[in-house]
């Protein structure tokens, strides 16, 4: 008898792409739940239950075991450093984490970096032997260098459109980002068959170029 898999899904940008991937893999997940206010969607025919969460919270649900598996961006995983299995690179919601500044940026005496990802940013600059002050912001990070809150920012870049519109340039790329399938430590073992089966189903529909592209970005 197979058990119900609880899947934590990120609301917003990634949801639609993840849902499409599940559909291709033959799991009939509704693609429009994101617009409704439902938080839990049951899918008894696939023996699954979807929990709709804020993306940064997905690894928390999975780490605590209230969800067996989840889908989350690598950016969140890098920032949160949760104790979960990272099983698959789904190859969706592709973008990159970059250092961004005004085109005429020069290293000042007191360097400040604004970001939604303070852990990622601190670690990156420390590894390069740069001591910077990190300021955590929660959105519209691009504002910071424009109005003088910080001289650089670390943020996700998808097309670069927002940067161009605001006269900012990408200076360095930290790493490439895609969405990942993660699993709870215990679920990975107690529900190993169900999870392995899902992995195999998804693996078949993941764009095969994924691994190579990620490699090039690095």
């Amino acid at each position: 008898m197979s058990q119900i898999l609880k899947v934590a899904m990120p609301k917003g940008r990634i949801y639609k792409k993840a849902a499409e991937l599940f559909l291709q893999a033959g799991i009939p997940i509704p693609t429009d739940v994101d617009e409704s206010r439902k938080l839990i969607v049951e899918l008894p025919e696939a023996k699954m239950e979807f929990i709709l969460a804020k993306p940064v919270d997905v690894p928390i649900y999975v780490e605590h075991g209230v969800a067996d598996i989840g889908i989350v961006g690598k950016d969140v995983l890098m920032e949160e450093n949760r104790d979960v299995y990272e099983l698959l690179d789904l190859g969706i919601a592709r973008c990159r984490m970059s250092v961004i500044a005004l085109p005429d940026w020069q290293p000042g005496i007191q360097q400040r970096v604004a970001t939604k990802y303070p852990n990622v940013a601190s670690q990156y600059f420390r590894e390069r032997g740069q001591q910077v002050e990190v300021i955590k912001l929660n959105g519209s990070i691009e504002l910071a260098p424009m109005i003088g809150l910080a001289d650089r920012i670390v943020d996700m870049v998808e097309t670069g459109q927002t940067l161009r519109e605001n006269g900012l340039v990408e200076m360095e790329e930290l790493f490439g980002i895609t969405s990942r399938l993660i699993a709870n430590r215990v679920s990975y073992r107690m529900k190993s068959e169900e999870i392995q089966q899902l992995c195999d189903q998804l693996q078949k529909v993941i764009q095969p170029s994924t691994a190579n592209e990620t490699q090039e970005i690095r």
Partner: protein, 395 residues
Amino acid sequence: MSKPKGFEKPTGVRDYLPHVVSKLRYIEENVLQSMSQWGYRQIITPTLEYYDTVGVASSTSDRKLYKMLNNRGTTMVLRSDMTTPIARVMGSLLKEEPLPIRLAYHANVFRSIEEEAGREAEFFQTGAELVGVDSPEGDAEVIALAIACLQATGVQNFKISLGHVGFLSGLLEEALPGKVREQEALKDRLLNRDFVGFREQLSAFNLSNAQRSELEGLLRLRGAEDICEQALEISSNEQASASIRHLCKVWEVLEAYDISKYVMIDLTMIGNFSYYTGMVFEGYAAELGSPICSGGRYDNLLAQFGRSVVATGFALKTNRILDGVQLPVPQPEKPIMVTYDAASRREAFAHAASLRQQGKMVVTEYAAEATNDNLSSDGYGEIVHFKSGSPAISQ
């Protein structure tokens, strides 16, 4: 941080109220009882140890150790596990004791943690160490004991995953001979449970397709004893195949114990390499998001304390079982209430004493005339009133 309010306590530590304590004691007593039935004798070691001895040798990372200075300025630690203090005792007080030695413990241990709910800074571990046996029989005995302990607590629906650190080391040495840094990178990825990163690293190295798919196949090596055969075919490296042959033998012994149905072999499971040297295992309960027990072989630890002998052990994560698992804890019996007035005091105490002699729980309370009838029987199995000049009345 502002000055704490009166009711506050540090994050990560907790109070145990009576009903929780009875469950904790139930687990503790049942587990220690099982261990004692397997010939494991209890040991108690101090809460405080030196940083330079037990602190450094323990498998707990430095930043997770609680450190403090004593009055001479020596760095001390609160013990972060019991295995390392026991290793210290093995190398000193028990140095001449003939092997094998079987020890059991139940103790609080300390880990300095991030300020977040769900991670405890002080918690209980109940565990056992088998020192001086390096055979598969010894490994299997410890696993069998762990299972017996879980059964004794009444945990339903649990599983044990069994792996071996030598298999991976051997496999990597075969694929990337002499390239220690590359091997470490791959091990790191697996230790962090980052399978995506593991695959990425693999494709970054100059490996033949066959070798790459062989190493990727490692992530699928989970199941029953047939996994052993599959794994043997994968590698011709001496260390890897010796590890697998060892696991097969452990499996044979587990079958003789008739407990192999609880165990699955999982070669993706690896422990801390600087600590574990052979088989490693973890236990899981269906209701809980994190493991309820872990253990393995650590043959190098005792040498750090001057006694170079092999050892295997495990510890139950007692707090997780306490908080997360439904157990058949017997309801405590309700006490008998004995009330009395000034003149019947002697008589009432004598009655209470004789009841206690019979093993009953008795609470006595002075009750003046007026309150006598108002006493609620809630929480008491029986109420006995003693009043001067009249016989005792039971309610």
